[in-house]
Structure formats: structure tokens, C-alpha cells
Amino acid sequence: MKPLAAMFAGGPNRWLRLTRVRIISQIVFFVLFVLAVWATWTSRLGGFPVSGLLELDPLVMLSTVLATGYVYKFLGWGLIVVAITFLFGRVFCNWICPYGTLHQLVGWLFDNRPGPQRIDQNRYHRTQYIKYSILIVFLVMSAMGALQIGLLDPIVMMYRAMTTFFSPLTDTAVGHLAGAVEDMGGGAMFLDSLKFAPGVESRIFVGSFWIGAIFLFFVLMNLWKPRFFCRFVCPLGALLGVIASKSVFRINRIVDKCTDCDLCLLRCEGASDPQSLVRQAECFSCMNCIDDCPEDALEFTMFRQDKKQVLPFPDMSRRQLVFAGALGLVAAPALRNNGLVNDENFSAKMIRPPGSVEEAEFLERCIKCDQCINACPTNVLQPATLAEGGIEAVWTPVMNFHIAHCQLKCNLCSEVCPTGAIRRISVAEKLGEGPYAEQGPVRLGTAFIDTTRCLPWANQVPCVVCEEVCPVAPKAIQTHDEETRDVFGQMVVLNKPFIVPDLCIGCGICEAECPVQDQPAVYVTAVGESRSKNRRLLLRSRTPERPI
């Protein structure tokens, strides 16, 4: 019986080779990924699965299940990739993963080492087991409630870097292009559709340099070791490698035909040694070796597999496995004991987007993909730095009211969150309207006034921008008239603002619009956030009928 794959693998001259199909698949998925990031914007979101690639990622599913015990929303899609991997091996790595595609593309374009050197680079290296160690550390940590896979999961890295690092770059470039077109007298409105965030002044993302630098570091490493990230680091690749050890299809070497020329290593993406005992857990099923074999000695097949010519399992000893597990057991409590994630010493600026679950549960769910940050129409959501939540919360979403505010009738962050760190809430639930009137609005924190910096309080200068922009009705910032003498001895009547914490929802527009810009005279801190009972401020909201 002729193997199915032989229909395509008939030789280098056939057009519809598996490698060509693979390239088409890579382009399609890369474009889909960019489109998903592009569509994650207030004027474009309309039920598109913009976080779809994250929901397909079985590592996101597995780690959040370990951390929370449940499968949120669409995370079950990860099983599709698991099933595909059981059938065809790690095809995800070389047919779907956009980060893998980027690595391969960069190597193809810029790695001009001569053939013999490339063959040497593409031999299996024993340190490739490190990615399995990384996977075990992360999974043990997840099971203990410290979800950190997002630091190195390739899909998460792609989303995060695309949002915070690349989209401002390209949007600025498109903006300049539009300006140039208009200067020449043309209409440039159509260029808006090329922007990731049209219709706003340029977005900024705090700490995006490091997100981009780490992302590009791994891309750069391709010039030293091809597919460095995929072979040595990627925890998702490791998980798929474990599954691929049992895959139905695999690369099979027909020993009778093989002349040991090693040409199969010329473009071997996974460094999986197809020239001798193929390492099934390392193979990306890229099919390059089939193309490159001059003797037709390699095939991708489920039949006639030579069981002597394969090493199916990851090359990891039991002691290495135990060591990695122990490392994870230590790492999770070590992170938590860092002292910033608790109800005593939490940062005043750890203000989470509306719909967020309580902090400990939040950190069990947030993978730092930053989709919420991309969807945010005002740019208030920012990747956290070490300052807000320490190393454990780095790159998770926090509100930065120096940049903007949380818009009243917006729930986009909760809609795009793939893991439920920001639970899906409706605008009515956010505002405490209709069926949610009893529980009241979602409060992100509470505003306070620094009377030593506030213009009417400290300097007898009229202002009250904060009162003007306060969006709740009745306003949570109110004013009282006060007649005082200014520095020149003249009587002036000043509107002095004060906060009514019972009404404040912590949206931060007062802080964002305060003219004392660098350290605003009205500012929001996390205390009083409604997601946590332990961070409550008021015993209950006062009303005219029930003052206290």
C-alpha cells in the first residue's frame, strides 16, 4: 500500500510538495494572527475570535486548569491542537505558531552560513532537554497558583510584543505616511485602516522596551543557533513534544535507501536527527528533510515505521525531571513570599481593570498576553512593571491614570480576556444598573485629594477640572464655595473640590485630567476596590436617609 504522504512527497520537482503546503499554512496563520491583533480595537471588535490563537494554545489550557481547576470560556479549543499533535506530531510548531514562523523566516533570510556549517548546527544537541525543564517548572508553579507560563509561551509572547512594542511603531510610521500624503494634497483617510489603533493620539506602553527586547533577543539568537527558542526554550513546544512522542504519523527513515549523506540536516528545523534515530519529540514535522533527501529515503507516514530508527521520548533523565519539579516547588512560594501580593502590603497603584477577580485568583489566571491592554480604547491599561506587583505580576494589566482613565461604558478588556482573569462582565454589571443595582457598580479603587498640591486648596487658583469630568451621577467629586484672601490680599471665591467616596468608582478620569500632571493632586488608589472584601474602605455606602 502506498503511503498517503507519498502523493505529495514524490520529489523536489513536484509543485504541491508538503513543504509548500506548510508555507501556505504558516502564511495563513501568521496573517490571521496579525488580523486578530488588528481587530482587537474598539471600532473593529464584533464577535471575532481575536484571542483565538491563545485559546488554541494547549499550554494556556493546561496551566490554567492546574491553577484554577476549571476550563474558562473557549480554552477547551486547546484540545484541537492536542488532537492534531497526537496525529501528526509537533506540526503546531512549524505549521501554525507565528513565533515559529518568524524564527524560520529570519533564519532563511539572514543565516547565510555555508551548507556544512548548517548541517552541523542542525544536529540534535543534548541541552535541548532544557525546554522540558522549563515546562515542568512552570506547570508545578501553576499547580501551586503562580501562573507564569506567559513569560515564555510563544503565542503569549507574540500577542504581547505585537501589542505593546510593534503596533506603536507601525502606527507612528503610518501616521507619518498619512501626513506626507496629505502634504502632497492627497486624501489619507484610507491609511487609518492600516493602523492598529486608529482615531486616537499615539498609544504608549510602559516598559514595552523590555517586552520588545526579550522578544527580539530570541529572534536574534537564530543567527547563532537556528530555531534557538523553539529547540531549547519553548515550554509549549516541550508540551507538544511530550504528546508527539505518541504521534500516529512521524518521519521514517528507510535504512536500505539511506546513504548517510546527512543532507537531511541541511534545513532540519527541529534538530531532530532524521539522519539516524529520529527524535520524535523534537521533530517539527516541517518536511524539509523529505525534500532534501536525494535518495527518497525519508517519508512522513503512519505505516511501515521502522521501530529501531526512532527515539520517541524527550531526552530527559529522571533526575533532571525531579530537579525541575523541585525548582518549581520552591519557585512558586518564593514568588508569593516576595511580599507584594497580599492584603497588607499591596501596592496602592495595583489597580486592576473592571471585572478582574481578586488578586490571588487574578494571578492564577492572567497569562500576561496583554489582549486587554490592546483592546483598551483609552490606553489606560498598561503592562505592570516591577513597581506595582513585583516579579510575579510583571506585564499583567494595571491602570495608569497618568496616561488616561477607564471609560464608563466600556467592557472590552473583559470581553477579550481568554482566561477569565478579567471575568466577562456587561456594561450594566460594571455600572451596577438593572439586575445589578443591589451589588452596586464595580469600583476600581477610590479617589483622594492632595490638598497640598490642589490648585484651589493650596494656591487659591480656580480649577475643578476633576469635578467637571467626574462621570457618575451624582458626582463623586463635589465642590463647596469658600471665600478666602489670596496671596495679594484680595477676596476671592474658590470652588474647592472634595471626594464623596461612597459614589467614587475609581475610574481615574479626575487623575488623568488634573493639571498638576506629574503627581496629580487628585489620585486614585486601590483601596476600596469592589473585587476584594479585604481591601474595602467604607463599611457601607452612605445615603441621605442613612448617613452612617
Binding site: A178, E182, G199, P377, K409, A473, P515
Partner: protein, 345 residues
């Protein structure tokens, strides 16, 4: 493996640099050097000199532009403000326009018209914080169909996310369905505007992009309460064209609003009194704060119009807001609207 070093063997003929080559090389080096010295050290007024003795030459130069006067003379000097009362928004707008002489008097066929609504907040239209989209719809259609304008643009620089504000206020959809084009702000859209006579914004970032080739400008403002300014009406609406750190202006709110009255000289100013935000302004948020004012105003004199609206829409007796007197001093109109207004019911 390293190769052993090789020495030229006997009989080796080198290819040596000639005297001519040396001279050429010296000439080129000397020329480049002299040019470099000239560029760096020639006094600043010499051509091509790059010298910057004070460090001020390298500072960015602002090249402000000036807005033209968009006004059109009134048909009747005694009707500076038209008020339409009774009926739907469309009927009231038509009555108000008729009172001042009809839209066709102000907009000629082929004109490019810019409409500036108030889209400042991400609010639904019934809360009165933004312009009633029904009036935008009517006006855009009137301009395109009756007045045969070549193009109608709708632009504002809201406080919240522009795309969201235009979407949830209903103004974006109303404008586009009626055939208008919405302009959202972006970093390239602002340029410094020079306003002679303005005290706070003589030179200030202005939302210029939608003004390209425009020859008629119409502002449409909702009538709103405002704690500091006492009212947000037709003149304060132009605040939405400013860029930069505009939150400082509250320190002298009446000065800035009167500056706005000379910053732009619109063809028409419209005050939308269909949903008057009586308190908790300018953001609103509670439908209970909104009152049906049953009026739409069209003004050639924005000062008189705001004065009438303050008394008849916001229902505030007593002293008018100070910005109106300042605007009168700056020559934007007259506070006293008696005998200069025509009400059609």
C-alpha cells in the same frame, strides 16, 4: 587551521601609488576638510553655514496658521438669533433657520462644510451630554440635498476615546448615514493656530486636519450646566477643537471661553435645546437631570444666542456668565439680545 604567513618572493612587482594619485588624494581630503571647516565655523548668516553659536538655531520653529473668517452677512440686521420652538427636532431646526434667512443664504452649492458637534463624552444621547444625533442627521441632509454642499464633515476632539464617543453618542452613525464624513483626531491632525487678540490661546494646538479646503463652519452645541463656567453653550463648544494640555484653562474659564469666541468666526452656531442638561453637567449621567427645552437656536451672534439660551433653556435668572461680557469686549457680539432675536413657534 592557520595558514603560514607568506612573503613576496624575489621578482615580485608591486602596484605602487603614483605621485599623481597622492596629489589627487591630498586635494580631495583638503577639499572635504575645508568644506567641513566652513560648514562648522562660517558665521551663521553665511549660506550653508551650520553654525549654531547660541544653541537656539536648533530649536523647533513653530509655523502657526490663521483661520479665515467663515461668517456670512445676515439677511436682516435685526435678526441675529433665530429660535425654533415646537414640533420635532427637524421642524424646530427648519424654523430657526428660516428665522435667520434660510440655510441657502449661508451655504452655497459646492461649499465644503464642517460641522462641529459636542461629542466630548462616551455617553448615550438621552443623557444630554452630547449633541442630539437627530439634529446632526437633519443638518447633514439639509446641507447635502437642499444647499447642495459638495462635502459635509463632522469633527470633534473628545475628552474620552474618540471612536467610542462618536459611536455611543450616535453622532458617528447619524453623520455617516446622512452622507457626512467623520474626522477623528490623530497625532498629525494638530497644528499651532495663531489667534490675534486672544489672551490665553494666541498660539495653541488646533485640530486642523478637517479644516482643509473648508469654507463654511457650523457649530452644534447641546445646552448644558457647567459648575465653573455656569453654562456650556454655543461658544464653549469650540473648546473641542483645541489640542495640547487644555485642562489648564479652567484656571481662567471665562477668559478662555471668550478667547474661543474670537478663535473661530463660524458661519452659524446652533444650540440644541432638545435635551437640556440642567445639573450634574457637563458630563450628566442621570436622565432625571435632562429637561426637554423645546427649542433649537441658530445664531449669527453667538454671544446674544448664549445669553438667550442661558435664561430660557437653562432657566437661570440673574447675572449672566462673565464670559459673555468678556466676549462682547472682544467684539464677538452683543450680550443684549432684545430686538435682535426672532422666535418662530
Amino acid at each position: 587551521m592557520k595558514k603560514p604567513k607568506q612573503y613576496p618572493h624575489a621578482g615580485y612587482q608591486g602596484d605602487y601609488l603614483s605621485r599623481r594619485d597622492v596629489l589627487k588624494r591630498a586635494l580631495v581630503l583638503g577639499g572635504v576638510g575645508a568644506a567641513g571647516v566652513y560648514l562648522a565655523y562660517a558665521p551663521e548668516h553665511h549660506p550653508l553655514s551650520l553654525r549654531d553659536r547660541t544653541g537656539l538655531r536648533g530649536m523647533p520653529v513653530e509655523d502657526p496658521f490663521q483661520l479665515p473668517d467663515f461668517r456670512v452677512a445676515a439677511t436682516n440686521r435685526n435678526v441675529q438669533v433665530g429660535v425654533g420652538r415646537g414640533g420635532t427636532a427637524r421642524e424646530m431646526l427648519l424654523k430657526a433657520l428660516d428665522a435667520v434667512g434660510g440655510l441657502a443664504h449661508f451655504v452655497q452649492p459646492g461649499d465644503v462644510v464642517l460641522i462641529k458637534p459636542n461629542v466630548a463624552f462616551d455617553r448615550s444621547p438621552n443623557l444630554g451630554a452630547t449633541t442630539n444625533p437627530a439634529i446632526i442627521d437633519t443638518l447633514v441632509r439639509l446641507l447635502l440635498v437642499d444647499a447642495r454642499a459638495a462635502e459635509v464633515r463632522v469633527a470633534d476632539n473628545p475628552i474620552e476615546s474618540p471612536a467610542d464617543c462618536f459611536a455611543k453618542s450616535g453622532i458617528g452613525a447619524a453623520a455617516e448615514q446622512a452622507g457626512g464624513r467623520v474626522y477623528l483626531p490623530d497625532p498629525n491632525a494638530f497644528e499651532p493656530l495663531y489667534t490675534p487678540g486672544a489672551r490665553l490661546i494666541e498660539q495653541w494646538a488646533f485640530f486642523k486636519r478637517p479644516f482643509k479646503n473648508v469654507n463654511k463652519v457650523i457649530g452644534i452645541a447641546p445646552a448644558k450646566d457647567h459648575n465653573l463656567c455656569h453654562a456650556s453653550l454655543g461658544i464653549k463648544n469650540w473648546y473641542g477643537l483645541l489640542g495640547g494640555r487644555r485642562n489648564q484653562f479652567h484656571q481662567d474659564i471665562h477668559e478662555i471661553v471668550s478667547d474661543l469666541s474670537i478663535m473661530i468666526r463660524p458661519t452659524l452656531t446652533i444650540v440644541d435645546g432638545t435635551r437640556v442638561l440642567m445639573e450634574n453637567g457637563p458630563t450628566g449621567g442621570d436622565p432625571a437631570n435632562v429637561r426637554d427645552g423645546n427649542a433649537i437656536l441658530v445664531g449669527l451672534d453667538p454671544v446674544a444666542m448664549d445669553a438667550w439660551a442661558f435664561e430660557h433653556l437653562l432657566l437661570r435668572p440673574g447675572r449672566l456668565p462673565e464670559y459673555l461680557y468678556k466676549a462682547e469686549q472682544k467684539g464677538s457680539g452683543k450680550v443684549n439680545y432684545t430686538d435682535r432675536i426672532k422666535v418662530i413657534t
